[in-house]
């Protein structure tokens, strides 16, 4: 007992000495010492959407996490903002060109929101509000893109549920004033409502644009059962009307239509002098397609399949991300990120080994560690739906298998995995989206 007390006393003394030392160091920081702000500790921090898992009793939140594997705080939640309970989780985060933070949401109660992000007096980022925006009934928000039309900036949002998600051919593209967040127009052309053979918009998800042409994909009905698309819809931004549907479909490896998901309009602002073309990932076709575009005559050529996942052993290709050298495409199966030379686009010329993530490889961010190591973090979750094994009512077919609920961190140059955070294990939550705290800084949409 005496020994224990002695150890405790010695321990207390050591702790006490430690505290004193810290204070002395702080005091030694004389008033004329410059503040070292070059070590930006926030460069490796990310903002994530976390989803409560029904069987684990957790709730949705927006969190800021540390993703530098060199940090003692790696994987720790630095700030957590509990979200109100909506009918479905928030889905994607986006920074506007002016630095405003938005989120799309998979339900109808909050399918598009602006998030108030400020700094408090301790310089820490804090969220002041999540304001659900009036979408004029459009639901199941997916992607956001800011694009200028005739010199005026607009905010475009794809809504897979359109203005009535009970319709089997639902879907719309919302055009918003980027200043006021007011709806300027709802672009809606349901297949059942247009003349036979006329262009339609159905379950729009991916979105990209070049000059006065916008492309949106036709992916899957929000309930994942009523229908699957196989086209890309071209919208004339002079009239905000759909003008063409382009089918991107070949083999059907899982028996469904191809389900085009994310799309990237390769254009000169991304690669100087490039011949414009649209790249399309097909979620259930496992393919990547190229649709060449003749900008002078405003004509899209016949689509060409440029990547075949069935033969390459990959499935469910999802996102396009890029930096100044490479384009990255995530493949949920088997959970990897393929990388391509940016200057060779729209051809897909590999630029390095695949980055091996986990099942559900989806969104990604690029950043640096404290020591300057270039990193990539991959969010491995197709959708935050649960697993029937957990008696989770949100399990939908095979999708549950594509939810690893993790973030893997890799060396960007070598692909070496440096760390992993399993949010289900650590926080009993899923992770729906990841964005660097300061915005993606990337040139491409997802």
């Amino acid at each position: 007992m005496k020994k224990l007390i002695l150890i405790s006393l010695v321990g207390a003394m050591l702790i006490s000495l430690g505290c004193t030392e810290v204070k002395e160091n702080a005091a030694a920081n004389t008033t004329d010492q410059p503040i070292d702000t070059e070590k930006n500790i926030e460069k490796s921090q990310a903002i994530v959407l976390l989803t409560g898992l029904p069987t684990l009793g957790t709730k949705d939140s927006i969190a800021i996490i540390e993703l530098d594997p060199e940090s003692d705080n790696f994987g720790n939640i630095l700030y957590d903002y509990p979200l109100p309970k909506f009918d479905a989780p928030l889905h994607h985060l986006y920074y506007s060109p002016n630095g405003r933070l938005y989120a799309t949401g998979l339900g109808s109660e909050c399918s598009l929101a602006e998030i108030g992000l400020v700094r408090n007096a301790q310089a820490k980022p804090v969220i002041t509000k999540v304001e659900c925006l009036d979408t004029q009934g459009q639901s199941v928000g997916e992607d956001i893109m800011w694009h200028s039309v005739n010199g005026k900036l607009h905010m475009f949002v794809t809504f897979m549920g359109g203005t009535d998600s009970s319709q089997i051919d639902a879907g719309s593209v919302g055009v918003f004033d980027p200043q006021t967040n007011k709806v300027l127009k709802v672009i809606e052309a349901r297949k059942s409502q247009v003349e036979e053979g006329q262009p339609y918009i159905m379950y729009p998800h991916g979105i990209s644009a070049y000059e006065d042409r916008m492309v949106v994909t036709s992916t899957v009905h929000p309930n994942l059962t009523d229908g699957v698309g196989n086209t890309v819809t071209v919208i004339d931004l002079n009239t905000f009307e759909p003008i063409e549907n382009i089918i991107t479909e070949d083999a059907k490896p899982v028996g469904f239509p191809s389900s085009p998901v994310e799309v990237l309009f390769v254009r000169p602002s991304i690669i100087e002098g490039v011949e414009p073309a649209v790249l399309v990932n097909t979620m259930f076709g496992f393919e990547t397609w190229k649709i060449p575009y003749d900008a002078k005559n405003k004509v899209f050529a016949k689509p060409e399949k440029v990547y075949d996942g069935s033969s390459a052993g990959t499935g469910v290709p999802l996102e396009f991300y890029g930096n100044d050298k490479e384009l990255f495409i995530s493949h949920a199966i088997p959970g990897l990120v393929k990388r391509y030379d940016l200057k060779s686009l729209p051809s897909l010329v590999p630029s390095g080994e695949d980055i091996k993530a986990e099942l559900g490889a989806h969104h990604m961010i690029f950043y640096s560690s404290a020591s300057g190591r270039k990193l990539i973090a991959v969010q491995n979750n197709l959708l935050n739906l649960g697993d029937a094994k957990d008696n989770d009512p949100t399990d939908v077919d095979f999708i549950a298998k594509l939810n690893d609920h993790s973030l893997t961190v890799h060396d960007l140059t070598t692909g070496e995995r440096l760390g992993m955070i399993n949010f289900k294990d650590k926080y009993q939550k899923g992770i729906d989206n990841v964005e660097t705290l300061f915005g993606s800084g990337f040139t491409h949409h997802h």
């Binding site: 920081n29 008033t31 004329d32 702000t37 002016n98 700094r119 007096a121 310089a123 002041t128």
Partner: protein, 378 residues
């Protein structure tokens, strides 16, 4: 008897130790202070407040009083506010400021705003490495305020309000306390409510002219893609705050003089020839009310400033290459450096610059003269 004496001695020693401990504790006891609370726009970026000078209500209050009190000067006629008037975004409207000596100083008075962002180098020539370091320099400068710090401390210690304010803020009156308090007050000079701030928050839209000016301001000209630009952002990327947080980013030679007339600028600090003629790119917040412009106040109006960049650039060894190549021409003419902006483009940029005026900052009571407000007895 011996035992009683021994116990008395022990008691006496114990008493001395106790009294000494209480005395030492009270001497070293930090006053109870309250941290200042505020929020700032996230887009301003990260800031740091020195650990040894936390931003407290008490230190800010003391700093505000000192800032407006001419007691800081040798002749008790010049305060910090003499050269930093709130209505002029804490500048003084003079080309070169004038202090106790009556001589024109070397520099134009810099605007004091959003000083927490970009804290590496203060003054036009970057000679101060922190706000605390900066704060005492004008007080001691023979032409600015001409004070002797030791004398000043004696003077302040004879005034009851300062006895109280220093005690509340730091527990004692000292030169370091003066520097810390002035720095703290200046850190609270946050402006985030100009029309442009409101635009960033989505509360207002800019007029067509302002928006055109914004685009020109943000663009480095690129004739390959028919992009015309004012090239402002190249040097003024931190235009909403007070400068850069990195070492010497934000210092630039913007072509005011040829080599023969080139002022020292940052060279005075670093003694590097490459830094001769480089001055701090200042904040552009409230720029419409902070004339005259440049480190020596040589330009009276924003029109004159734009005219400088549009044809008045003088070549020198350290002239910014970003300025040389920004000419909006497909064939750069080496002999004449100019943005070659059209009159309507110049007007649009100036319109945009006017959106940076924050009226609420210029009239914010919290930044005003406490002596005029009768707050001495607070």
């Amino acid at each position: 008897m011996l035992k009683i004496k021994f116990l008395a001695a022990v008691f006496f020693v114990f008493l001395i130790i106790t009294v000494a401990s209480i005395y030492l504790y009270s001497m070293n006891k930090q006053p109870d202070t309250q941290l200042v609370e505020f929020t700032a726009p996230f887009v301003f970026g990260r800031f740091q407040i020195p650990e040894n000078n936390p931003l407290t209500v008490e230190s800010v209050k003391l700093g505000r009083h000192l800032f407006y009190d001419p007691i800081l000067s040798k002749n008790n006629k010049v305060s910090c506010a003499s050269c930093h008037k709130q209505s002029l975004a804490f500048t003084d409207g003079l080309a070169l400021s004038v202090g106790v000596s009556g001589k024109a100083l070397s520099f134009n008075s810099m605007s004091l705003v959003n000083l927490m962002w970009g804290p590496r180098h203060f003054f036009w020539d970057g000679r101060a490495s922190s706000l605390e370091n900066q704060a005492l320099q004008p007080i001691e400068h023979i032409d600015e305020m001409g004070s002797n710090l030791a004398n000043l401390i004696v003077e302040l210690s004879e005034i009851k309000i300062y006895q109280t304010l220093f005690s509340q803020a730091y527990g004692e009156l000292s030169a370091a306390g003066i520097a810390k308090a002035l720095a703290s007050f200046q850190r609270t000079l946050i402006s985030s409510n100009s029309r442009y701030d409101k635009f960033l928050r989505g509360e207002v839209s800019l007029s067509e002219d302002e928006e055109f000016g914004r685009k020109l301001f943000m663009a480095h000209p690129d004739t390959k893609v028919s992009l015309r630009g004012g090239n402002c952002i190249d040097c003024h990327s931190q235009f909403l705050t007070s400068g850069f947080a990195s070492v010497f980013d934000g210092f630039s030679n913007n072509g005011l003089d040829e080599d023969i007339n080139l002022a020292e600028g940052l060279y005075g600090l670093t003694k590097l020839e490459a830094h001769r003629g480089l001055f701090k790119a200042p904040t552009l917040r409230n720029i419409a009310v902070t004339s005259p412009y440049m480190h020596d106040g040589r330009f009276e109006t924003l029109e004159e400033v734009l005219a400088h960049y549009n044809g008045g650039i003088k070549r020198s060894k350290t002239l910014s290459p970003l300025i040389i190549e920004a000419d909006n021409l497909s064939d750069t003419k080496a002999e004449h450096i100019s943005l070659n902006l059209e009159p309507h483009e110049v007007a649009a940029i100036i319109s945009f610059l006017h959106t940076l005026t924050d009226e609420s900052f210029l009239t914010n009571e919290a930044f005003s003269d406490p002596f005029k407000k009768g707050e001495l007895n607070d």
